[in-house]
Symmetry: C2
Subunit: 574 residues, 2 copies
């Protein structure tokens, strides 16, 4: 491509409404333009990237035997009424009426349509398993569209749906999809983690999210530094400490004056002990086995944070989890900031807190804490539970390495749906015994346009975008892989040499741009860095005299003077 025949829509200024670095850079580099809140045009430069991502996603879907279809974006409301989602979905589902006053929706997802299709087309277990996918525009009426294409209203998604005669078959396709997703994000050169998206309770249906690690992510992801383990912090298990680690008591129990010290941190500093040697007690609403309300205590180490989702799994706790009010504490004879662990109510102790000995806790008296506290001797535990957020440095729950925590951007989600939709829509096939079987389903999404924003969040510097380093040059998603800049393009030899190199690289299948724009070199350099072209080759009179080309890699700053053969080898990654 010659740059003079291609829309360069680069901007020097950062648009005022671009809120994160990828959104700023995508607008500045001329990949996208906003036309309204959450609605973007993909400009020629950006669409090249989008289509490259689409190609990789499509190939890997085909590799696992998924068949491509194209469903309409507009869907009749009846289908959504059948599954109940027309009412349940919430205002993200854009509902509208056609000219005949019939209800429709703009598809944010296509479970209903595809299940309706499966119901009509699939007759026998022999046709299963079967997987359909599409790459298509979706619409979600976000209340506050933001982060550019990351949380846009109209966006490009790959959605796939699989149909099965039983759970075993579903699990196999789910596994294939897990592997396909892993290959997709690996080929794209992204630093990502496949994250357990539920607690994986036995017999339940699995779900994994694929997150690209980047500071602007909306989720905290805990992952092992030495294995594949990764989970959302909200769901990551804090592994059971070995109870044998609990030391026998060495100190006597004793109350000490801690006037006005209502936090573990204040107490630990005052006593000059590690925060990890204190515990805090939270009193929350709960109930007895027969439903009678009662207060219950949840005990954590002073340096740990309560994980509400985990705490709500305590059977005796009310959902949603709510703290007891000051009045309720008073009525129970407790003093806020000084609550201990020796209590007249069920006491649920976090795994880490349960292994402590000679620890410090509230004394159940105003302005007093107890030191030398020990479980069994001084207080009893109703049940040991996992109720805290994992922390960096915790051992990984799979026993391999320790945990790191980073923010993640969700770019993919695979999900074992079971028969939720097929049941509602009566999607059955005749089984091996001739009797109807309700199909099991899986669904598998990838935010195709979102991937680009995530890739940029992970790969950028002060000069602009750096595209991910993909394992093969063919999979690079840079809009152009190489830019050739003729300096003083009016000089005939320079332009001839530049054009000849351009033609040769093109003939070799390299995605190359000849920057023949009538602009100063400084402007071109800045544009190409902003857009993130991986390889820059400058052709100049002076260097040609020595038979050399000036080469700069976007990820390195130093210039190299290379021969024609060397420069070709560089950009072909040979």
């Amino acid at each position: 491509m010659k740059a003079s025949q291609f829309l360069f829509a680069t901007l020097k200024e950062t648009p005022s409404d671009a809120d994160i670095v990828s959104s700023q850079l995508m607008v500045r580099a001329g990949l996208i333009r906003k036309i309204a809140s959450g609605l973007y045009i993909w400009l020629p430069m950006g669409l090249r990237v989008l289509q490259k991502v689409e190609r990789i996603v499509r190939e890997e879907m085909q590799n696992v035997g998924a068949q491509e279809v194209l469903m309409p974006m507009t869907q009749p409301a009846e289908l959504w009424q059948t599954t109940g989602r027309f009412d349940d979905y919430g205002p993200e589902l854009l509902r509208f009426k056609d000219r005949h006053d019939r209800d429709f929706v703009l598809g944010p997802t296509h479970e209903e349509v595809i299940t309706n299709l499966a119901q009509g087309e699939l007759r026998s277990y022999k046709q299963l398993p079967i997987t359909f996918f599409q790459i298509q525009g979706k619409f979600r009426d976000e209340i506050r569209p933001r982060f550019g294409v990351m949380r846009a209203r109209e966006f490009t998604m790959k959605d796939a749906y699989s149909f099965h005669v039983d759970q075993v078959s579903l699990a196999k396709t789910y596994h294939d999809m897990y592997e396909a997703y892993t290959r997709i994000f690996t080929r794209l050169g992204l630093d990502f983690r496949a994250v357990q998206a539920d607690t994986g309770s036995i017999g339940g249906f699995a779900s994994h999210e694929f997150h690209v690690l980047a500071d602007s992510g909306e989720d905290d992801i805990a992952f092992s530094d030495s294995s594949d383990y990764a989970a959302n912090v909200e769901l990551a298990e804090s592994i059971s400490f070995n109870m044998a680690e609990r030391q026998p008591p060495k100190q006597e129990r004793e109350d000490v004056l801690t006037e006005g010290m209502t936090t573990c941190k204040m107490v630990a500093e005052h006593l000059d002990i590690p925060l990890a040697n204190t515990v805090k007690t939270l009193i929350v609403h709960g109930h007895k086995e027969d439903g009678t309300p009662q207060l219950i205590a949840v005990v954590l180490r002073g340096d740990h944070q309560l994980n509400t989702i985990k705490a709500e799994k305590i059977e005796e706790a009310n959902v949603p989890l709510t703290l007891a009010s000051d009045e309720e504490l008073k009525a129970a004879g407790l003093h806020k900031g000084y609550i201990g662990v020796d209590l007249d109510m069920p006491v649920f102790v976090d795994r880490s807190a349960a292994t402590l000995s000679d620890f410090v806790t509230g004394a159940n008296k105003v302005n007093k804490h107890t030191i030398g506290m020990n479980w069994a001797r001084d207080a009893s535990i109703t049940r040991i539970v996992d109720v805290r957020n994992v922390q960096e440095g915790d051992p990984s729950p799979d026993g391999k390495g320790t945990l790191k925590i980073k923010r993640g951007i969700e770019v993919g989600h695979i999900f074992q749906l079971g028969d939720k939709y097929s049941q509602a829509m009566n999607a059955t096939v005749s089984g091996e015994d001739g009797k109807p079987v309700t199909m099991m389903m899986g669904c598998y999404g990838i935010g195709v346009s979102r991937i680009i924003a995530a890739a940029i969040e992970q790969n950028n510097d002060e000069n602009g975008i750096m595209w991910p380093q993909t394992p093969t040059v063919e999979d690079s998603i840079a809009p152009f892989e190489v830019a050739i800049i003729p300096m003083k393009s009016k000089e005939e030899t320079v332009m001839q040499t530049a054009t000849a190199l351009y033609e040769e690289l093109k003939a070799q299948g390299v995605n190359v741009l000849l920057d023949d724009r009538n602009e100063r070199p400084g402007v071109k350099f800045a544009d190409l860095e902003l857009i993130g072209i991986p390889h820059r080759i400058v052709v100049s009179d002076r260097n040609l005299a020595e038979g050399k080309f000036e080469y700069v890699n976007r990820r390195e700053s130093e210039k190299q003077m290379l021969s024609r053969e060397e420069v070709i080898a560089k950009v072909c990654r040979k």
Copy 2:
């Protein structure tokens, strides 16, 4: 592709709501499925065809330097309010409100969005001309969706928009697009005509429609049998007859009794003269130069049909053209069915009627006609005009050959928009002299999904679809080019030979299907004919013994026994 791993959704029965042959065959062959009125799913078999058409369209757009973009399907109403189309467009424009009660539309076309983009991005005449295109889902809320994907509500379209500093530049790109469209439809193997879509008045802006000729078309297309000339019958010029052809009078004028004969046909039969020797006079509402209402007469040959669009171009006629009422005729002393040409009002005579001599007309008396009527001697002409529809056999207006008339399906439209949108949206660039210039625009549409229906309308037989014969095999839009059917697939040699041939063709880049489904041969043959696979190769024990393969071309019925080399040469069209 192995058929066992691909969704065959063929139907034996014709769906009751499929109204034309292409719609019936597309559903029966499992290319599409309807989910609601005017909304279709493209099944794997159909999407393969759609993507092949898209590829050809994309290549030819790129060949003329058009740059691909992707605009959102949802568009803010403000843009449409700027051009006035939010109110003007009519109910085909689907309008909706988002959750914040803001107005949006579902894009049936994208002039507003692209002009808004051009207004923001293009600064200088040096950036022009520039052309953008996209291939994308569009929505038109048709009052009565019909003809399958031909007149669906959601459909795939290629829309392109060009921007220019002046009319000369617009005309050049328009010409390039005309050529690109011609290449697209030629590559697709379609019998099509580029049709003048307006009267081409000098200085006006040109517009051409591209029609695929097929009986189910909605337009009548007149085209020369010996040149490129083609026009919508409504607009085709009836060429000026040479007035020298008008013979001098031979008969005397005479009134004859024609009781109850109020049509030219009745009179011609009664007098035993050609219908072409009679004329009919239509009295319509008109006005004088100062606007005063008056009746005017339009005279046509008895065998010709009035063309309203042309008649409305008579300056003295009212628009829309309306016939005088019986009361108005009476008041003017005229008798319906017996009106002549010697009248006390302006008389506009069609070119063909003006060359007649000794013709028959009404006598302006009840139950009487005049024979031996002659212009000049018996009646005067206010102006000779072109107000009739052309007919098959008429000379072609370009002077080459004679006209044929066939029905056409519009699959493309190119249009010189001028500055309608750029003016309304203030889309200017700085011109060579530094002053702002309002850009000139062209727009260029192709109904990508409609092409497939049109191709099938033009290519089918009683057994199903026959895909168009494309100039090159690479451009074939058949979902698969070749099907290999192993007979008795349980016999090892048969299956091995079939698989080996399949692998070899695949390696040669042939789009081949191995029909390994567990079905009877008859079912497979019927399916493959319905789907229209161009080449069928049967591998059987008996033929293998002779080293032969049974080959059938979809367009021929006879089987050929061919060697392996011959069969490969056939399907590769070598």
